[in-house]
Symmetry: C2
């Protein structure tokens, strides 16, 4: 009973996964806007309307791709962090940065879907919010542990964050307990620097300028890690 019902549900789940896989492949080659439900259906040997049994709309397909992407990226960052010695906080930060860049270079269109401009008619549902904290949570954990170990020694760069920012810092601190406001905002700046760099590299802003991109990225991330104060 449950078995037979599961039999059907299982083929359904499999087809759903297959559709998502083909869509991801299409996304990888054509880009976000080139993702066509009809093309997916063609490649599956189905008629277009049949796909709608599995994904009510193109946006729902996009949503699963986005969530999967956040999870894949988050997992890559988590693994890179876990491969480092626990107390090498600067090294862990650097490894996490490289993991983000490596994943982005390997999945450029997927990265664009996550961190590029929003797809035209698409409005990201709340489901995607939960998945996207995984990567930044890693950064938060690194800094939080470094702080606890007394391995954060931020150089003087600017006046302390003004009072109105205390609430915002408090919210961010949920991901990095024990970290003072000043360092929290340094992390935010480094975080945006990381993704800004990767986006610039991926979206072509570095053409004819930065050629040795791996080395330049590595150095830039060391600078940002230093700005946080990681030893």
């Amino acid at each position: 009973m449950t078995a037979s019902r599961t039999a059907r549900e299982r083929v359904r789940a499999e087809l759903t996964r297959e559709i998502a896989d083909i869509a991801r492949r299409q996304l990888a080659t054509e880009g976000a806007g080139g993702l066509s439900l009809r093309a997916v259906a063609r490649e599956m040997g189905m008629v277009s309307s049949a796909v709608y049994r599995y994904f009510p709309s193109r946006d729902d397909l996009l949503t699963t791709l986005i969530i999967d992407g956040y999870n894949a990226l988050g997992e890559a960052v988590e693994q890179a962090d876990a491969a480092c010695p626990d107390d090498d906080y600067a090294g862990r930060w650097l490894a996490a940065c490289h993991a983000v860049r490596t994943w982005a270079l390997a999945h450029p269109h997927e990265y664009a879907l996550l961190y590029g401009s929003p797809v035209p008619g698409y409005q990201a549902p709340q489901d995607t919010v939960a998945a996207r904290v995984r990567d930044v949570a890693v950064l938060g954990r690194i800094v939080s542990q470094a702080q606890a170990a007394g391995a954060v020694d931020p150089p003087a760069l600017a006046p302390a964050p003004p009072a109105p920012l205390r609430e915002d810092a408090e919210r961010v601190r949920e991901l990095m307990p024990g970290v003072p406001d000043d360092v929290v905002f340094r992390c935010l700046a480094a975080w945006t620097g990381l993704y800004g760099w990767v986006s610039f590299e991926l979206f072509g802003q570095f053409t004819n300028t930065i050629e040795d991109r791996h080395t330049a990225f590595d150095h830039a991330m060391r600078v940002m890690g230093g700005a946080i104060g990681l030893r």
Copy 2:
């Protein structure tokens, strides 16, 4: 003769401009992917094929919008810089940052066109490269002048940039003569941090996290200016 020829060319130029304006308005409301040549034609009371007399393809229309956007942003940054006292280098950097953010908030879809993920089938031609240096040229000028005035005092953040990066630094230095390699890469990091922050804010990565965005941005840019070493 020239006058009569100019008569036709003038109406052509005017129509071309009008098409671009309508497209820009559509871009502002619908976003990049929602830009439709047919809709532009409808709004102009033309038939769609007539628009192709003025823009051979949708991509050409996009290209002019992009170039115009780069110029508009560059001009905004230039003006913000010019409004500051020449020797207040940190203030000029901050003003330039705020100009970028303000323009981006006022023209979100246009900003997305410039700095977001590339539009699906669209390949940016070389024409767009020339226009996009205007904003970064301002930053380069600020730092270059600060350096000449001895107003750059970079705090120790990381080891010096490794040797392979000298060529890249040389290329970037064309926009900021006299600035040492170390500072060049700090500028690059700050530059990506600036656009990374604006992109995050615009593309929704700060929702439910950073609320006082103006203050947070201001503080983050002060941190980055401090990381460059601007006094």
